[in-house]
Symmetry: D2
């Protein structure tokens, strides 16, 4: 994996040093995840996801579900069957027995969506304590979407040339100006030296309020596998905002290296699954019986009917 | 209470309508809190705290602690004694039996501190769905503090005249420009009409990234009394950032109307209380025995010694 | 409602006193739930559920989802549509804005299942502090089910006469003996007086270990509506153990008085809903296209096929 | 470590097999804890604590607190200072970055206290699904304490000979009878074969209700270090019931092998620490100033005064 463009040489050295060290352990270990431990997997223009640590593997889920003295079962096929059963019947507690710790760099407006997931542990860099780096998210032109006309919280097509250029210019310009003014108010230059020896500098906890919401922040985020899958089910979904979806997809790939049987079941039952209401199921049964059901006599509202037909590809 | 300056006449009407209605209930009711229900208690330049609903009172804490069929006790003095006992010995679960729901308007950078308290329920207005109002926090000149030279995450004195003016000008100017550009990218004017019929307008979920962190947001926040007291212990403390402290103090006043016995005990044991380590207590005992203890022979580090002497007013 | 058979006259008086008192409030109030507040709704032979307090109503869910200044909408039909939308798309946070507090009396082995739901507040009577009452759960003969031969954790038919009688005799006899020995070890009679002045009596926190798991306990349990619906989805389900299902059904009836629009949507989308996997949906689509799909070419395991056919009534 | 007396040879083999395997890892590893991984550390007569897995070490706390790319600091002394600072100022989130998973065997009445700690993950063996083993907790005669006359929920001296013998006989006798009747109702012998081919056997989920509360159960319990320390602060305290305290002390010893710097700080600031109220501190300051304060003019109740004097060893 090539070095991440936003890492300093010192940071790359630290990562290389961690990757080089190896110690023996009696704990459950997953070679495919060990392989990419500590690496900065890029997301967006300056962001990344790094796996810092993990606990457990697919077998640990089985082991906990059985409250066993040794490993869960002797055969992978039995583990697979039990994991599918647990996922299908939403027996969620064994999935809580695996844990992962990530280091994530992400824009603040995405961080604000992320923290709606409360059952996780978090340590974020503090802009009361430190001066934030001059790094802001500027969307790739392909991602510069128009407001959807059909959906209040959706995106339409990408903006056309002139409008896209105008938007990019605004985003870059405002971010550059507000960051420069942040340093001005702090009275520090990029090396941390005073700009003007006669000024005191505004408190960091106040100056940060001038930064725009696309400024990058960083955090350590630790979560159990059950709550992570819930996060992924919502954030790797096509209703999620593209930017957080790109993080979710990167994380899902890493989770697949870690617990492949669980991710297989998750893709089948949750990500690709469909929830049908009691009324939906009545319609499906009538259709299967050969009846020609139409929306007005379906018991469904127009919107529910549309959603059901979409799910059935009709 | 005079109307809050940031409320529209329609919002004031809605609040007046809610305040005018009264229905009988058999539930525990607190007249002093009913008196101020729904009102917008101002904080900072555009923010507020409104109490929307509450469950329980001081007696409900006692009732739950005793798992009783009726009210907890017959006498306020007994309730007071038991509440002080529960607070002193950190028997926290009975305090979870009271609940309060607030509507809060606050700057985004404060909202980001607030959500570190995870054991609460939250509904925030969505800037994916709606266009945010043109309201930003500009600190009062008295609150425009310099960075503390002694404390990495603290404030020093207020900035002097010229530097303060410069900072205020930057904050106002950048907020005005980034908000104007937000509308420009959205291609909407302040009434929601298109600025230019030939442009599509950037998706709201993207355009918001250009806003600065002092833009106001709003949410409904519901929390139980135990977790609220924990929030207040941290955020009404003098280590907390002034802006969130002002919210915490406003809330503490409202909580005092609601559960006065609990707040009395909280002020004594928690807000005004001091935690001393085993080593600290050894020093206190030696001092009480008349010994002339100095830092080098105290077993405390220089920093711990300084903190202990400050706590003892020596 | 007739008085609950296990309540003492003093307890009935306390409840009557609470029911008689009425005070005005500006809060959201639900007359249908006020009507049954404080009453002991019987479950099993000695158990009950009492509603002690509640916060919010259907409109409060809408109000929070919109972060509004007044009530959510002007019309019940709009509230209904939005609540159904929230339920269908699992936008769960607005349902957290309602809260209910129950007083429940239940056998210990059911209490142990109940506490697996962790996102709730709980105050239980302490058998370290008090002597527990002589009340145990003895199943009704109709509920005295044989072990299912098909399902490791299921029930079969009710036991036949002689075996049922034998079981009932054992349960009654062992409960009576272990409770009598509990009092003997405590050295107290049923009025709390010493049985033998020359004995000290075993500590209550130890003596309780001799009680059987069908002994009744009591607690105050407070939970938000989202977490309560999750509890009901699992515990009012036919996979749940009958005894906890009877509690769940009693609670669901009370919740229906409280938030009827929410319960209507919950019954349709959650209780009566079906989750289909990606593979299940492929089979459904093939069947709807007129294809004669059989298990071997369905991509489903035998067990998954059986579960799908059952859901489709085929 | 000698094999635990309650483990079968098969279970001992499983443990030996896990201990023998070793794989390389790049994760943070703690040799002192690896040494005792999987072993059954005995508690009470049949109980144990086994460490199954762990994530992080003292350095990981520092690393998360600094949101660093590599390890937290280069020197143990710096780590120690920062950890003490975090503990002293109750900056708890970095301690959430370490996680431990235990397998615990414990009596049911202790399990019921344990689950009051809700912020943890749990998988317990199911007595709906399996037949529980014939193992009950019978206290050691030294632990057979009388009810305290001074404290409603405390223990006094150990019971004298005849009363102790009587109690032990009751506990053993009732446990033996109720367990035998449990098998009788299930219609299984200790090998799982039917006792009487003409009986069906009561459902396991019902039969278990005849067991006494000192029957042993088992679970996997996973918790982060912050919540574990909170558990230990309450359960390794002398107010805790002896039986759960013995588990807490065993766990504390294991945690000390894992994160020794954290446990050192925890012992000083939390376990050995004292919380003084605002009024307590006024009394301490007056005493230090040489004033002869007595309870009536202290502002403290008689009970608070007694507790303060005890803390000050006066």
């Amino acid at each position: 994996m090539p070095p991440h463009p936003s890492l300093t040489p010192e940071q790359q050295d630290e990562i290389a040093r961690l990757k080089a060290a190896s110690t023996p352990t009696r704990r459950a270990t997953v070679p495919a995840l060990e392989e990419v431990l500590y690496e900065a997997h890029p997301v967006l223009d300056h962001g990344f996801v790094r796996v810092i640590d993990y606990m457990g593997d697919d077998a640990a889920i089985v082991q906990a579900a059985r409250v066993s003295y040794g490993k869960g079962t002797r055969q992978v096929s039995q583990d697979r069957g039990l994991i599918r059963y647990l996922m299908r019947h939403r027996h969620t507690s064994p999935f809580e027995m695996c844990e992962i710790k990530l280091h994530v760099k992400l824009p603040i407006f995405i961080a604000r969506q992320w923290v709606r997931h409360r059952t996780a542990s978090l340590n974020e860099i503090s802009a009361r304590y430190s001066v934030l780096d001059r790094e802001v998210y500027i969307p790739h032109p392909d991602h510069l979407a128009a407001q959807s006309s059909a959906n209040h919280q959706g995106r339409g097509e990408a903006l056309a040339g002139a409008e896209a250029e105008r938007v990019l210019a605004i985003l870059k310009d405002d971010a550059a100006r507000t960051y420069a003014n942040y340093e001005d108010m702090l009275n520090v230059d990029s090396d941390g030296a005073p700009l003007d020896p006669d000024r005191q500098g505004l408190a960091r906890e106040l100056a940060r309020m001038n930064l725009t919401l696309n400024t990058y922040t960083q955090w350590y985020w630790k979560v159990d596998l059950h709550n992570l899958l819930h996060f992924l089910a919502l954030r790797a979904d096509h209703h999620a905002q593209l930017e957080i979806r790109l993080y979710a997809e990167t994380i899902l790939d890493l989770v697949e290296k870690w617990v492949p049987l669980t991710v297989e079941a998750f893709r089948d039952y949750r990500l690709g699954g469909t929830s049908l209401s009691a009324k939906d199921m009545q319609v499906v049964r009538r259709l299967l019986a050969g009846e020609a059901v139409e929306q007005p006599d379906s018991g469904l509202s127009a919107r529910e009917w549309r959603e059901l037909m979409a799910a059935l590809d009709r």
